[in-house]
Symmetry: D2
Subunit: 277 residues, 4 copies
């Protein structure tokens, strides 16, 4: 059996020794191991890929007894995660994920696609993915989100909710249900050009580089912990629609990279920052 073990806690002397000791005593192999101590926050992060047989709860219990009381211990079998895609009308990010899924190249089962429009249904149907149109027409934000939650609740064991160009703002209440489990792709190099129509903003400002940012969604719109970012060079000859078009390639690649990291349990979130191994 293959496991991912993630531990983060305040730093102390001997942590690696204590953890290695427990791993050794449970006769587990360390296939891959990453550590990082944040020198400013004095926080220890470790991710290990383990192989072997174990009593999961017993192992976690032994570890917990050796670690500082604030330790987060995450242990997961290496397995395909369950994800749901949330979109609006744009196809490039969702299509990219569907292609990879169809190819067997994604460590995830796509349980469903949810959108507030019918626009993405043909794409979902091409790839035989359940599609739920939850229109926001005539509904308050609260009512709309309740309807989305109803759909989500009809699925079990959702590991991640992927906002693949979902263009509506989600309430704090909704966000709370998917803390550190909801990933958004924002169509700018955050924190530049927060808010609506970032390509137009970038064009108006005359920047020479545009980008995209994948981040966990938190209460603060466009302010959640950043997982991945990338950029491309642009110049004066590009209008904002051309920037937008060129930006789509960046968006889908950045979201795809962030999704891979999430699916392999490579991301730690502490306060508003990520540690990514």
């Amino acid at each position: 059996m293959d496991y991912v073990l993630k531990i983060d806690c305040k730093d102390e002397q001997g942590l690696i020794y204590r953890i290695a000791d427990v791993v050794f005593k449970y006769q587990l192999n360390i296939i891959k191991n990453d550590e990082f101590v944040d020198p400013e926050k004095h926080r220890f992060y470790m991710r290990a890929h383990l192989s072997g047989d174990m009593q999961e709860e017993a192992f976690k219990g032994t570890l917990r007894a050796m670690l500082p009381s604030d330790a987060n211990i995450f242990l997961s079998l290496v397995r395909k995660k369950n994800i749901i895609l949330l979109g609006t009308k744009e196809t490039h990010c969702i299509g990219d994920i569907l292609l990879k899924h169809d190819d067997g190249d994604l460590k995830a089962n796509i349980l469903a696609i949810i959108s507030n429009y019918e626009s993405l249904r043909p794409l979902a149907e091409k790839f035989n993915i359940s599609y739920h149109c939850v229109s926001h027409e005539g509904l308050s934000r609260h009512e709309h989100e309740q309807k989305i939650l109803e759909v989500l609740n009809s699925y079990e064991n959702i590991d991640f909710l992927i906002l693949a160009k979902y263009m509506r703002i989600l309430s704090s209440e909704f966000v709370k249900h998917f803390e550190k489990k909801m990933i958004n792709i924002h169509h700018s190099f955050l924190p530049a050009f927060i808010g609506a129509n970032p390509y137009k903003q970038a064009y108006e400002r005359g920047v020479k580089i545009i980008g995209a940012t994948a981040h966990f969604v938190t209460d603060d719109l466009d302010e959640g912990p950043i997982i991945a970012q990338d950029v491309i060079h642009v110049d004066h000859s590009m209008g904002w629609k051309q920037m937008q078009r060129a930006g789509r390639n960046v968006e889908k690649v950045v979201l795809s990279n962030a999704l891979d990291l999430a699916l392999e349990d490579r991301i730690f979130v502490h306060e508003n920052k990520t540690v990514v191994f």
Copy 2:
């Protein structure tokens, strides 16, 4: 003789024909020619590298008669420009420019270095460049800037004033003296992390990319027309001082690229944007 001709004006049918006609009649060779029509602003931009002999004023007059009344016509012999460097304490940008200058690899004469500290004097002396320390101690902003202006006025024909990590804010009054002639390097990917200590801001925000921006200085701090930008990838393992250190390589390269563009008269500024050929 080699000339750079730059024209920008509202777009009209036949502009290229009319300009090419004048150039042809003056028996000038077009060595290189770039044009751009901004489709949103309906503005025409042209930069030509011409060779031949001409009566400059006559040529400009003939052109002016053929062009819309709002046309900016810039004509300059290809020559080394005169620049003055303004710094504070950091050496990486100024040192990089001095090295290129010393190497004969810069199309500019460095007339002087001005700083509000003595820190850069040893570097200036290594390269035999006049150094003026104009301390701000005990002076109001206005008084300090007056003293800097006095130094600047002792030099003739300054083409560009280069703020190579000058860390004080300049007043609108001062800026007015060097409109479209003063280039600043800002140590972030603008418009992200405007203001003080951008690397600390970037670190706190947990971004995965940092950068630098060279721009013309205008009244609005950190808001002037952008000339050049570049970025590098960073990760959680870098504290803000490491980001700052890594960022210095980006800063000096971006400033160097922007300076090259300015020295070759490749930049147009219209409203708050640049067109760069």
Copy 3:
């Protein structure tokens, strides 16, 4: 009506004037204009986006009379091009093109997909694109290519043939049929790692950057004129299969960018190099 006019010829004084003169006399608007003179080869390149009504042959004839005898004059209505995709088994490049096509975001009609395997048929069917499996099993190269040509000949007005991870070498004879019309994506930063399994080669060599190259196909395998290239950073922790996986994102974006350039008639080929406006 909108046209793209492309001219390349040996450089001479007054070319721009003469061309602008003809354009002016035909009362055509220049929407966008790019020129370049190669200073080493003394060759002139111009691409103009024109709008207006014209007798195409008359216009070209008038131009020809004004230009050096070696001039290539290309004039094309702005229209959707007809393309055929040639693949083997991998889906990422073809899928990416199909998604864009389906989205109405590609200036092309995809006439068909041809492969030497059945593997891509399900993908083609999802998007309702004609699929031709032309197996190479038991055939000589010549016989196999003849069969592909038969399929190709059943379509009219093919503008470009896109080798979207087609993994077989094409003969000179075949290549001759699609000179400057056949674009290949090579899974390395050419000229590094020419030939088979470039990711394995890159891994073995321990490079810190991998990339992809889109180029026109010529007689010399992997040696044709380069249209577009891009790269990503890699490190020691990536095995060659991980490099290959990461590289796929680069491959599809580079091919997509090269295809856009081709579809908009932005590429000149002279000898073994491209000029791209």
Copy 4:
């Protein structure tokens, strides 16, 4: 006291536990720790930044007793390294290193600059660095290298020899003296454009990206283990001299980054590849 400990050996179960055990028993703090197991070569790499007081030889002896017999154990106090720069005529890489050194921003003492020309002497003198011109005129390769070795032998404890655009080929015999201690900057993205004048080669080939590579020098010219690489985009409008000029910025930054990694003992070399933490 601060130490860097580097261990590489064939992988075995329990290595981390055993090492952590020794570190714990010597009451050393682990400030930073990186590990990597190469899954193809089954080789274990670890670099730890330790703090505490120790008997160095005893500590290494205890470690050695716990590790596979092929283990390389490197232990070094965190200190400024001693380097010598070897150049020919170009100033950009050497100047960049001198500026950083002068700024106190380099974890190294520059003992001397050696060149086969007098060209770099003025630069060395500006920064008060000993300069040795060892002309190759009239000498065989062997004789010339002997003279360089004489100069090198007059310095003690040289940690790294930096080939900062040294344009002569070194013999196997010479290279043997500085195995894994000699870093070269090659002015191309290796393995593309090996050999002389790579910018000209890149120009002739029409590539859209150029780069630079820092690598350890081995017997095989331009084939040593790669430490760092970076690239920039270029286009048809750049002649090879412009590529060369633009490339210099890449060269100096890549060499600077590789030098930092070497000075902090972050690089492992195994066979022809590096592992860089």
